[in-house]
């Protein structure tokens, strides 16, 4: 399977997001990327939209639902939100949407900062494996993978996508 070029996806996503925000009358959205891949996508997206808005970064390690299975992520870093959350229209950006659990954790974390007016979800790729009722408002591409396949984003410049096969490359993960 050939993977799409992230730069091309982001160009289209910038147009879709601008249209989606203006349709809903949102003039000053707050952009938040989920560490690490989501931050890269967010930076590229802001550049494609020629936006000077500050970018918040979210580290959802403390909010994950798999602590009992996987423990604490050793490279946890502080979340940095250089703006108010209360009453704001948020644009939440991630790289790959798979189970939806990261987004659930991110929403839980955001609500601990305040009550946003709305949250728009933007993802580079939707793997359509939703284990939770979460789907993106703006998406670069939707892919269907085999059970053992994963997609990995590398970045920040250039952004590249790579297909991984867990059945053969499990040692590398």
């Amino acid at each position: 399977m050939s993977l799409p070029n992230p730069a091309e996806l982001i160009r289209q996503m910038a147009l879709d997001l601008t249209a989606s925000l203006s349709k809903r009358g949102i003039v000053e959205p707050r952009f938040i990327g989920i560490r690490t891949g989501g931050v890269w996508v967010a930076q590229a997206l802001l550049e494609a939209m020629s936006s000077q808005s500050p970018l918040g970064t979210l580290d959802v390690s403390f909010y994950r639902d798999d602590f009992s299975q996987n423990g604490l992520h050793p490279q946890v870093r502080p979340s940095e939100l250089p703006f108010e959350i209360e009453g704001q229209h948020l644009v939440l950006i991630d790289d790959v949407l798979m189970s939806g659990r990261t987004i659930r954790a991110a929403l839980n974390e955001l609500f601990d900062y305040g009550r946003p007016a709305s949250v728009t979800l933007v993802c580079l790729l939707d793997l359509d494996a939703g284990e939770l009722p979460i789907s993106p408002d703006v998406v670069g591409a939707t892919l269907s993978l085999e059970l053992d396949e994963r997609v990995k984003l590398s970045g920040p410049t250039p952004l590249t996508l790579e297909l991984q096969d867990l059945s053969t490359a499990s040692a590398a993960l």
Binding site: F62, L72, G114
Partner: protein
């Protein structure tokens, strides 16, 4: 006798992650740095409107204090609560032990209440270590101070304080001043500073308050305060432990203050941007002058804030490592 944790990695699981937190002795620099990094993230949580994360939801943390403490107990309670754990605190000195129950039985009862973590403070050196090894191996044990041996969370919160104010440890001169002999804080600090690469660690005290062989920790010994403070970046004052003082180690508190008390004039010998730390509770006019304790160089209250973040980091890391260890053992048993 001082237990030697370094000889046996009791506090690490099969993957080298923390599963108990008993002593800093023998812990690698990478692990200490990971604790500091994790604590930095928890500091950010403490600055939010909602100062709570769901990490330890459904876990039970039991603070078992065989020795009185206000600051350590309350910051451990707050840390556990901010991790969403259920917390109970037992002041054992005032309950069952006075009815004749042994340490062993007390803890087995708590274990039967399905506690996932014990924070233990005890007057005897090695108590936390003993519990982790012989009493409750399934429970994550955090040492909240044991006798004269160790106070590892205090040691790490002091390291976080230094790193946040000085950036790193590579070029620092740090003086630890006062009652080194009775101080588990001093021991934990010497070990941590050494492990993190601090090149100039000094202990400053009258000879009667220095443990025999303190040089083994890789520190320089000074018995004159002015010499010991010269051009240091960090001054860690220790509390004069009046309750542990027996048999003429000091002529008088007045004399101690005159020779080893930190005053504005004495502090002038340190670097102009030196920071002053103290584990608390401070004895004003015994080891430190009020003008210094409340002055611009003092970071004593910041230490309390950092202490909560360090305890959150250690508790979540130990819970994570202990859970992994139990899963590993279960899989191996099958």
């Amino acid at each position: 006798m001082t237990p030697l944790d370094a000889k046996r990695p009791l506090q690490l699981n099969h993957q080298g992650q923390l599963r108990h937190f008993l002593s800093l002795d023998g812990l690698p620099r990478e692990l200490l740095t990971e604790i500091l990094d994790t604590a930095d993230s928890f500091l950010e949580v403490g600055a939010r409107a909602v100062k709570k994360v769901p990490l330890l939801r459904g876990k039970t943390v039991c603070n078992v204090f065989f020795e009185n403490s206000t600051r350590t107990r309350t910051t451990f309670e707050l840390a556990a609560q901010r991790l969403s754990a259920d917390v109970i605190t037992l002041n054992v000195s005032t309950s069952s032990t006075s009815k004749g129950e042994t340490l062993f039985d007390t803890l087995r009862n708590l274990e039967a209440m399905a506690a996932d973590m014990f924070v233990v403070r005890h007057g005897d050196s090695g108590a936390a270590h003993f519990i982790a090894e012989h009493v409750c191996p399934e429970v994550a044990i955090i040492n909240g101070g044991d006798g004269r041996h160790a106070h590892p969370t205090q040691g790490m919160l002091d390291m976080l304080t230094i790193r946040r104010h000085k950036g790193s440890f590579e070029n620092l001169s740090v003086a630890i001043v006062g009652d080194i002999l009775h101080s588990r804080v001093a021991r934990s600090n010497m070990i941590a500073l050494k492990a993190l690469g601090c090149p100039d660690i000094r202990v400053v005290a009258p000879k009667t308050l220095l443990p025999i062989g303190v040089e083994q920790y890789g520190v320089k010994v000074y018995t004159d305060l002015a010499e010991g403070l010269k051009d240091v970046d960090v001054v860690i004052m220790l509390r004069l432990q009046r309750e542990r003082m027996q048999g003429g180690l000091l002529p008088s508190e007045g004399e101690f203050y005159r020779l080893f008390g930190l005053t504005t004039a004495r502090l002038a010998g340190a670097k102009p941007d030196a920071i002053v730390m103290h584990p608390g509770p401070i004895n004003r006019g015994v080891e430190i002058e009020s003008a210094v304790a409340d002055g611009a160089h003092s970071v004593i209250l910041n230490q309390v804030t950092y202490g909560i973040a360090i305890r959150m980091a250690v508790m979540s890391m130990a819970m994570s490592g202990q859970t992994a260890q139990r899963q590993f053992e279960q899989e191996n048993a099958q």
